[in-house]
């Protein structure tokens, strides 16, 4: 289905329910839109810069015209920050979604419908603000932005449910020289939930205990929760670099399936007894 570039630039949200191959084709199209928008943004910045430079030279010969060129160039340069809209704000997000979809593609049916929501840029929701006593006039604010959600059924009957949240902390304070400062820290909360069929895996809890929770994540990620019950495995990790998100989702899924694959083997042996 052809996508509307202008709408994506304005709204910044892609949402669809389709087989993985179709979703991947859409993401490929969005990646091309992003490249075009980024090139346009760069071009506008260059035009603005050269106009300002030309105006500066012209100002020595014909001052009013030179000043006018500088003003126009400055306006053009400022406009370049907004050119490309929401498409260019987080270009890495399209890559994360593409990598995740490709990762699960061979374990999903060609016709299986998956729901994908990808926010290229939305306004983060403010969770709370509070005083920060460590610095003079200290205050901290916490924001959250849900930007990736994927749901669908894999070939073994398991429902996969992924989501990624961007967590932003802003700290405002006054430094010893009396200047106001703001420091931000971004982290990403990655959730992977696998609701497995009892007819294939029976109960995964004994397998999880037997493996002693051997879930691995990369060096840029921290495992925050592993919950296994008779119906689902839920894994949470916090990632500090956005380039680690797709790998973390992959490692969490592989870790969860190491439990499920043991559960299946145990279930088969148990049925044989």
């Amino acid at each position: 289905m052809p996508l509307n570039q202008q709408q994506l630039e304005k709204e910044g949200i892609y949402e669809a329910k389709a087989p993985l191959a179709a979703l991947l084709a859409d993401l490929d199209q969005i990646a091309r839109f992003t490249e075009i928008a980024a090139a346009r943004k760069k071009r506008h910045a260059k035009i603005g810069g050269f106009t300002m430079l030309g105006g500066l030279v012209l100002a020595f010969i014909l001052t009013p015209l030179g000043v006018l060129a500088i003003v126009v160039g400055l306006g053009w340069w400022i406009y370049s920050f907004f050119a490309g809209g929401k498409l260019v704000k987080h270009p890495v997000r399209v890559g994360v979604a593409t990598e995740r979809l490709k990762m699960i593609q061979e374990d999903a049916g060609a016709k299986a419908q998956f729901s994908l929501k990808l926010a290229l840029a939305t306004k983060p929701v403010k969770l709370r603000d509070e005083a920060w006593s460590h610095r003079k006039n200290g205050k901290q604010e916490f924001f959250e932005e849900d930007w990736f959600a994927l749901q669908g059924q894999l070939l073994d009957g398991t429902y996969l449910n992924d989501d990624v949240k961007e967590l932003l902390r802003k700290r405002h304070f006054t430094n010893p020289r009396g200047k106001s400062k703001t420091k931000t820290r971004t982290q990403y909360l990655v959730n992977v939930r696998l609701s497995y069929p009892a007819s294939v895996y029976a109960d995964a809890r004994p397998a999880e205990k037997a493996l002693h929770g051997q879930i691995k994540v990369g060096t840029g990620a921290m495992l925050r929760a592993v919950r296994v019950n008779e119906k689902a495995i839920v894994l949470k990790a916090v990632v500090s670099q956005d380039r680690e998100i797709a790998t973390t989702m992959g490692m969490l899924s592989v870790g969860a399936y190491r439990i499920l694959n043991l559960a299946r083997k145990v279930a088969v042996k148990g049925a044989n007894k």
């Binding site: 049916g109 073994d156 592989v254 694959n261 145990v266 088969v268």
Partner: protein
């Protein structure tokens, strides 16, 4: 060079998959990136999975521990059969086309 011909109705007997094993649905091994044209015996076991070098192998102690824990489950439930688990590695032909299953 002409690739070796594949008999009509040929089905790949190999396991494939990234997260869990399932039957390969390709109609020919020619140009297959998983078994590399039939050269790899078990593409599922050969897959690289981050730092999980022992992904498909479990100590007997692990299996024993888990089996012991679920013994109670099987004593009290007749819902699960051997065939349920085996369908994963030898799925039915209709599995892929069954929209209700995917």
């Amino acid at each position: 060079m002409t690739p070796p011909s594949v008999p009509p109705g040929w089905k790949c007997p190999k396991r494939t998959g990234f997260l869990f094993p399932h039957q390969c649905t390709r109609l020919t091994p020619v140009g297959c990136p998983d078994c590399q044209g039939g050269q790899v015996d078990d593409p599922y076991a050969r897959r690289a999975r981050y730092s999980y070098s022992d992904y498909d192998t479990y100590d007997d102690s692990m299996t024993f521990f888990a089996l012991d824990s679920v013994a109670h489950h099987f004593e009290n439930s007749q819902d699960f059969t051997e065939a349920d688990g085996e369908t994963l590695v030898t799925p039915q032909d209709a599995f892929e086309d069954d929209m209700s299953a995917s």
